[in-house]
């Protein structure tokens, strides 16, 4: 409501209060998120090394970055990791959700077991995974001691395969959550349509393929957005599981940025890599958030 010019102080104050309450958070977000983003992007165009410095070098850091074989490795790994991680989590999550939706005895308990990994830090479970995958003491050793002497599983020590162990552990952590999202989607589907289709003699396969799965579109979209954003952010997992090794075989952009900025004193290049990570996430998140917010109004 518009304020008259002679409104008393109390009325004025009440009018401004909501904005006043919101403003500290807003200021924090503006400074610590958007201000910092601008600062980092700016640094990516400077000759910063150990400390931020302000000598403008244009696109030099970016062109250097794209010539680094180390960066190429982490980008390739990102591609492999994201594709497999998102793909497997989605397929597994959907499959498990459909299975769990068949009036399963002990559903609550199974759901609890599938979901608990999400509550744990990778610094914690990485300890167990690292050990389980280690050929000397883990799965390979166990299989051989159980009598399968030709069994080999040394991916974590193998340059060409180590990235797949990262996928394995990441899928272990998130697929239960994706399952829960699909399960919620399945429970939201109107049963009348299904009953009608079953009356018409639709087979189970057709029922899912033509009616149920197409209706899960929002769940697919949410799963994709969340998984891709988690994939780009993946950091602790690599630190705990492989430390980026063997060699540099499991580096991802997040670990690349960290090591170039904080241990190799190449802050300009580190900032450039962070900028590219941000752009990638923004390309996925902004259209999604735009659609979500427009829908709500």
């Amino acid at each position: 409501m518009p304020l008259s010019a002679n409104a008393d102080f109390k009325t004025r104050f009440q009018h401004w209060l909501p904005k006043l309450v919101l403003s500290p958070s807003l200021a924090m977000v503006l400074v610590f998120v958007y201000g910092f983003i601008l600062f980092s992007v700016y640094l990516s165009f400077t000759d910063s090394r150990l400390l931020p410095s302000f000598g403008w070098v244009g696109w030099e850091n970016y062109s250097k970055l794209w010539r680094l074989s180390h960066w190429e490795t982490s980008i390739t790994n990102m591609g492999i990791f994201a594709a497999l991680y998102i793909g497997i989590c989605t397929v597994l999550g959907l499959g498990l959700a459909i299975f769990l939706d068949q009036k399963i005895r002990g559903e609550g308990m199974i759901r609890t077991i599938y979901l608990y990994p999400m509550a744990l830090s990778f610094i914690v479970t990485g300890t167990a995974w690292k050990w389980f995958l280690d050929p000397g003491i883990g799965l390979e050793n166990v299989m051989q001691s159980w009598g399968w002497t030709s069994f080999e599983f040394d991916w974590i020590k193998n340059r060409d395969f180590a990235i797949y162990t990262v996928v394995l552990a990441a899928v272990w952590q998130t697929s239960g959550f994706v399952m829960a999202m699909f399960l919620a989607g399945l429970r939201g589907i109107d049963n009348e349509i299904l009953k009608a289709a079953q009356m018409d003699g639709a087979s189970n396969w057709n029922l899912y393929r033509r009616i149920i799965i197409p209706q899960l579109r929002p769940a697919f979209l949410s799963a994709f957005v969340i998984l891709s954003h988690l994939a780009i952010k993946t950091f602790d997992l690599v630190i705990a599981l492989t430390g980026g090794g063997p060699g540099r075989a499991t580096e991802l952009p997040a670990t690349f940025m960290y090591s170039y900025t904080f241990s190799r004193n190449q802050m300009g290049i580190g900032a450039a890599s962070a900028t590219i990570m941000l752009m990638t996430i923004a390309a996925i998140m902004i259209p999604y958030l735009y659609a979500e917010l427009r829908e709500k109004n």
Binding site: V33, Q102, S121, W129, A184, D236
Partner: protein, 293 residues
């Protein structure tokens, strides 16, 4: 078998059902595996582990690895065990969760019940902040903490977690308050209730469920955080995750796997406990994190 009323159950034969149970059970084993490996090996003497037999139950049961992980394992230069770092994490997580939840509740209240120009855009800006890769803020944040005199302190970490947590807490409370009847607030306004009175007397009493979601979400995220802890903590403020990583990755001496596993479980206990006690809400929190409110 008839059509299910609640579930989208398919008509299935005996073979199919057995197969379904088998697959579900197999995956249950897959998800339990790391926890099993950690628990079982944390109560074995070291020689049982180095001799192989990762999956075997302990022949000699011992709690010594737990005691060592808690109070005497070598972390960094001091043989202090994980206990001081555990308390560091508590000192960081409690204020950070409390502050970010209160701010989220107030923001959600303002954004839904006191509409003004551009509020959707403001909300969009806050929301996008949830999803940025934190690598983009590491360098300026380090500089800012230095300027504020908070570098290497627990309060510095609290600030960092509050700043990057309010996006999510605002999202939760905003979606929750959006469906709260605005007529009730109008009526209270006519009766002369002010901004805070409305919040305190009308909205807050019914905010229990969403507050639980927000607390669980923030607690889990902040407790499990590694990147900020590793980047900004000083020797006296390192959280549990960073200390555990130092313990496990230490390259010198004999690798005491049983102590590592006991330490890992100690670091997992708080979030695991929250998950077991409030699992239902935890799932709701995770789902709310998927933006679809």
């Amino acid at each position: 078998m008839s059509v299910a009323s609640q579930d989208t159950a398919i008509r299935t034969g005996r073979v199919m059902r057995t197969l379904i149970y088998l697959v579900l059970l197999l995956f249950a084993l897959f998800y339990m595996l790391p926890l099993y490996v950690m628990v079982i090996n944390s109560v074995k003497p070291l020689d049982e582990i180095t001799g192989g037999g990762m999956m075997n139950l302990p022949q000699v049961f011992t709690l010594e690895p737990w005691a060592k992980a808690w109070s005497s394992a070598q972390i960094g230069v001091q043989p202090t065990g994980l206990s001081p770092y555990f308390w560091n994490s508590i000192k960081m997580v409690v204020p950070a969760v409390a502050i970010s939840t209160v701010l989220g509740a107030l923001n959600g209240y303002v954004l839904t019940k006191w509409r003004f120009k551009y509020d959707t855009i403001l909300f969009g800006l806050i929301l996008f902040a949830c999803f940025i890769p934190f690598q983009i803020v590491l360098i300026p944040m380090a500089k800012m903490l230095g300027l504020m005199g908070l570098a290497g302190t627990t309060w510095g970490l609290v600030l960092v977690h509050v700043v990057y947590g309010i996006g999510f807490t605002t999202l939760y409370f905003r979606n929750y308050y959006a469906v709260f009847p605005t007529e009730l607030i109008r009526a209270a306004q006519i009766d002369g209730a002010g901004f805070f009175q409305i919040f305190w007397r009308i909205l807050l009493p019914s905010s229990g469920p969403i507050a639980v979601v927000s607390v669980i979400w923030q607690f889990t995220n902040i407790w499990n955080d590694f990147l900020f802890g590793a980047s900004f903590a000083g020797a006296d403020s390192q959280p549990m995750t960073v200390a555990l990583n130092n313990l496990v990755q230490a390259s010198h001496g004999v690798k005491e796997y049983n102590v590592h596993f006991a330490g890992a479980i100690l670091a997992a206990l708080p979030t695991l406990l929250v998950y077991i006690v409030a699992g239902r809400y935890f799932v709701r929190g995770l789902m709310a994190g998927s933006v679809k409110g």
